[in-house]
């Protein structure tokens, strides 16, 4: 289930081992991204591109303006 979270919750989740996905285009990801985030651009988000994610751990997806 997808929910929106606040910044402090994101920091807590990262500290607890959450997987962070940057959904921005690759050039933007290359410029800057949250430490440890992997890049899966929104337009390529599907079962194949997310197969490497661990379903047993929290996943946080962000773009430029929303977590």
């Amino acid at each position: 289930m997808a929910i929106r979270i606040e910044l402090p919750e994101l920091q807590r989740l990262i500290a607890a081992g959450a997987q962070v996905v940057d959904a921005l285009p690759q050039p933007e990801y290359r410029e800057t991204h949250i430490p440890g985030a992997i890049n899966v651009p929104i337009k390529s988000l599907d079962a194949d591109t997310t197969a490497g994610l661990d379903r047993a751990r929290a996943v946080v997806v962000y773009c430029h303006d929303y977590l």
């Binding site: 929106r4 979270i5 606040e6 910044l7 994101l10 940057d22 921005l24 990801y29 290359r30 410029e31 800057t32 991204h33 949250i34 430490p35 440890g36 985030a37 962000y62 773009c63 430029h64 303006d65 929303y66 977590l67």
Partner: protein, 138 residues
Amino acid sequence: MPGKADWRAHGLPVEGEHADLPTAGGVARDDVVTCRLDDPVGPIAERVAPSPYGFALVTTADGILLGRLRASVMRDAPAEATAEAIMEPGPTTVRADTLAADLAQRLTERDLKTAIVTTPEGRLIGVVTRTDLEASTA
């Protein structure tokens, strides 16, 4: 809730090719005169006179930017007029993660000396000057 922009706006670390480049948030100064909507213009003008910016910013009590009061406009207004009555509502702002070099270029192209930096929610971070931006990228 804002994402990467907000992460950077809060000064949190990032990785990537541009991670060490100066940004508007890193260069912004927090010394601009601020006031509330119902503050009288007279005392605001007195505080703006010695400031380096030539304007005051109107905010809510918790720092959300509402408008700008230019010294030139305050000079022509009655001292008892309120900030709300003569402010420019909703001034243009930039985000903290804007690269200093890009912002300096934009200000130069538009012949502007300053830019107002806010969080994605509109909370005032500070003001950047073109001089400071150019110095940060030198």
